[in-house]
C-alpha cells in the first residue's frame, strides 16, 4: 500500500511556488489547489511559465521559493521517481532503441517488478490504448498518434497518483489532435487520476479541463472552469486570450449609465462612473436594422467566412473597430453600411488599466 491510498486531501497543493533564473522571474508565487481526479489545464502563451511549473511539480527542476505538496507530502525534496507522478512529454521522449513493449515496461522494470507482472500490465495498457499489434515495433516504425499512445501507455502502466502532460498533442496534425483529445478525455474518465495538462491551445483547455489555470509572464491570471473563464474573464488579457476571435475591447468613460468613448451606448445602471475598458464577445454583437434603439452605424471592412460562421470586421462612425460573429450563411458584403447594437446585459467592464473586472451582477 502506498501512502497515497489512505489520503483524502487535495491531490496537489502549490504554495507560493516561484522560479527565478538569476534576475529573471519565470514563475511568480503561484498558489493552486488541485482536487483528486481533477483535470487541470495550464493555459497560456509561449514563455508564460506553464511548462516550468509542470517540471517543478515533476521534480525535473528545483523551485526557488515555495512548497509543492503531492498527496499531502511535501515534495520539494523528493526525487522525480519518488513523487508518484508520470509525465507525457511534448515530443513523447520514447526510448528509440526499445520496442513499444520495452518502452512501456521500462518504469516497472526500474522499480524492480517481476517480469511476468510487467508483461501483464503492459499487455493491459496496450489493449486499453489499442496498441496490441504494435508491441514489438520500435518508435520510429509508429505513426505520430501511435507514439503518442505509447507515451501515454508508459505513464499509465505505473498507475501514478498524478499524470503530468506537457503539450502532448502539439506534434499531431489537426484531425488526429481532435481524435486524441477525445481519447484523452475518455482515458481520464476511465483511469480517474489527477491530471495536469499544459497547453497553449485554448480549444484543448476549454474542451478537456475541469478547471483552467490561465498564466501570463509567470503569473496566474485566473483559475476557473472553462465557462467561468469565458464568461467572466478576470482581466483584459484573459478576455482576449480565450475566445476566437477575441473579445472586443474599447476604452472610455461611464457617465450617467452610458459608455462614452469612440461610440456612445447604454450600459447597466449599476456600473460605477469612471474610466473603463468595455468588452463584448463577437457573438454578442448584434447586427440590427438602422434606426433601432441604441443602434450604432458601422461599415463592414472585411468578411471572413469560416464555414458555419462569418466574422465581420466593422468600423463605427467614431473609428472603433468591432468584430462580430454572424451566421455563416449571412449575405453581408464588404463596404456595406450596417447598424450594430451592443446589448447592455452582455457587456463586460474592466478598470482603466484593464486588470480587474468591475463586478456587475446585472451584466
Amino acid at each position: 500500500m502506498t501512502p497515497t491510498d489512505t489520503y483524502s486531501g487535495p491531490a496537489i497543493e502549490l504554495i507560493e511556488v516561484a522560479k527565478h533564473y538569476g534576475k529573471v522571474t519565470v514563475l511568480d508565487r503561484v498558489d493552486l489547489t488541485v482536487a483528486p481526479g481533477e483535470f487541470i489545464a495550464l493555459l497560456g502563451p509561449s514563455g508564460c511559465g506553464k511548462s516550468t511549473l509542470l517540471k517543478l511539480i515533476a521534480g525535473l527542476d528545483e523551485l526557488s521559493h515555495g512548497e509543492i505538496h503531492i498527496a499531502g507530502r511535501l515534495a520539494n525534496y523528493l526525487k522525480p521517481a519518488e513523487r508518484d507522478v508520470a509525465m507525457v512529454f511534448q515530443n513523447y521522449a520514447l526510448y528509440p532503441h526499445m520496442t513499444v513493449r520495452e518502452n512501456m515496461g521500462f518504469p516497472l522494470k526500474m522499480s524492480g517488478i517481476a517480469r511476468d507482472i510487467v508483461t501483464a500490465k503492459v499487455d493491459e495498457a496496450a489493449s486499453l490504448l489499442q496498441l496490441d499489434a504494435q508491441l514489438d515495433r520500435f518508435p520510429d516504425e509508429l505513426s505520430g498518434g501511435q507514439r503518442q499512445r505509447v507515451a501515454l501507455g508508459r505513464a499509465i502502466v505505473r498507475e501514478p497518483y498524478v499524470f503530468l502532460m506537457d503539450e502532448p498533442l502539439s506534434n499531431l496534425d489537426a484531425l488526429l489532435r481532435v481524435e486524441m483529445r477525445a481519447e484523452l478525455v475518455r482515458l481520464h474518465k476511465r483511469v480517474g487520476r489527477t491530471t495536469i495538462y499544459v497547453t497553449h491551445d485554448q480549444v484543448e483547455a476549454m474542451t478537456m479541463a475541469n478547471r483552467i489555470v490561465l498564466m501570463k509572464g509567470g503569473v496566474v491570471q485566473q483559475v476557473g472552469t472553462p465557462a467561468e473563464i469565458y464568461a467572466t474573464p478576470a482581466n483584459t488579457f484573459v478576455a482576449t486570450f480565450v475566445g476566437s476571435p477575441p473579445m472586443n475591447l474599447f476604452k472610455g468613460r461611464i457617465e450617467q449609465a452610458r459608455f462614452r468613448g469612440a461610440f456612445d451606448t447604454a450600459v447597466p445602471a449599476r456600473v460605477m462612473p469612471g474610466d473603463v475598458t468595455l468588452g463584448i464577445r463577437p457573438e454578442h454583437v448584434e447586427i440590427v436594422e438602422a434606426g433601432e434603439k441604441e443602434a450604432l452605424a458601422a461599415t463592414i471592412d472585411l468578411v471572413e467566412r469560416v464555414g458555419p460562421d462569418a466574422y465581420l470586421r466593422l468600423t463605427t462612425q467614431g473609428r472603433a473597430t468591432v468584430t462580430a460573429r454572424v451566421d455563416g450563411a449571412s449575405r453581408a458584403k464588404e463596404g456595406e453600411r450596417v447598424a450594430l447594437r451592443l446589448p447592455p446585459a452582455r457587456l463586460c467592464f474592466f478598470d482603466a488599466a484593464g486588470n480587474r473586472m468591475i463586478v456587475d451582477k446585472e451584466g
Binding site: 509525465m87 521522449a93 532503441h97 521500462f106 526500474m110
Partner: protein, 318 residues
Amino acid sequence: MGLDARVMPAAPSGRLRLAPEEHRRLSRNRRLKREVLGWAFLAPMFLCFVIFLVLPVLGTVWWSLRSGGLAGDTKFVGLKNFIDLPDIVGASAAVTNTLVFALISVPLILVGALAIALLLARIERGGSIYRFLIYFPVLVPGVVAALIWLFMTNVDFGLFNGVVRGLGGKPVVWLGADHALTVLAILDVWRNVGYWALFFVAAIIGLPKELYQAAELDGASAFARLRYLTLPLMRRIIFFAVVVATIWGLQVFDTALVLTSGGPGTATTTVIYRVWLYMFGATNKIGVASAISLVLIVTILLLTLVQMRLLRGRRGGD
C-alpha cells in the same frame, strides 16, 4: 456574395505546349549541368585522393614484388616477399607486440574517454577549461610526447620513480623489457584519451534531454540511465571509436622510435617499426617493408569493412 462555388474543369489531354521529346531534352540538359557541376566540385578531392593515396598504394604493391633496397638495383621476385613474411626476422614479435599494445591501449583509451566525457558533459561552468586540459596532450606531437615521457620514466630523476620512492617503493626500470610495452601503451592512452573524450562529449551532449528526464521519472538511477540509455544510444559512436582507435593502435610508430627505439631487444618493436627498419635500417629491404605494409593495409581495410557491416543496423541500441 463574394464567393461563388466554382468547379475547376478537368484539364483536357493534348494541351501541353512542348512536345514530349522537347521535355525529355530539356530535362536531360538540366541533369547534365548538375552532374558536371557536381563532378567539378569533387575533382580537387579526387585528385588529392589519387596523388596521396592511390598512387602510393600502387607504388607499394609494385615495390612489394621486388627485392633490393631503396638505393641500388631491384629485381622482380613475384610473391616471394609475401611467402617469406612469416619467417622474416622479428615478424612474430612485431605482430605480438602490436596486438598486445592495442589490447592494452584501446580499451583503456575508450573506457577512460567515456568516463571523462560523462563527467565533462555534466560540467555547467568552466567546461571549456577542462576540455582544453583534457585535449592538450592530443596537440603534443608524438616525438615531443615521447621525450616528455622519457623524462618522466627516467629511473633516477623521473616523475614516476619519484612517486614510487615517495610511497616507499623501489625504483622501477620503466623502459626495461618487462614494462616498456605497457609504458608505450599508457603513453598512447595519455595522448589519445582527450581526443576520444571530446568526441564522446559531443555525442553525449547531443542525446535528447527529455529521454533522461523521462528515465528519471521512470525511476532509473544514474547507473541505470548509463546502462539503458547512454550506452545503447551511443552504440554506433562507441563502435566507430573502437575500430578507429584499433586502426590507430596498429600503426604505432613515432613514440616507439623515440621512447625505446623498439627495445630493449624487440620488446617494443611494432609492425610499423619493423617496416621502418626494413626500409631505412641496415637490412634495407624495400620489398619486405612494402609487403608488410600491404598486409597491414589489407588488415585495416578488413577491419573497416567489418565496422561498416556492423554499423548497417538501423537503430542505435540493442
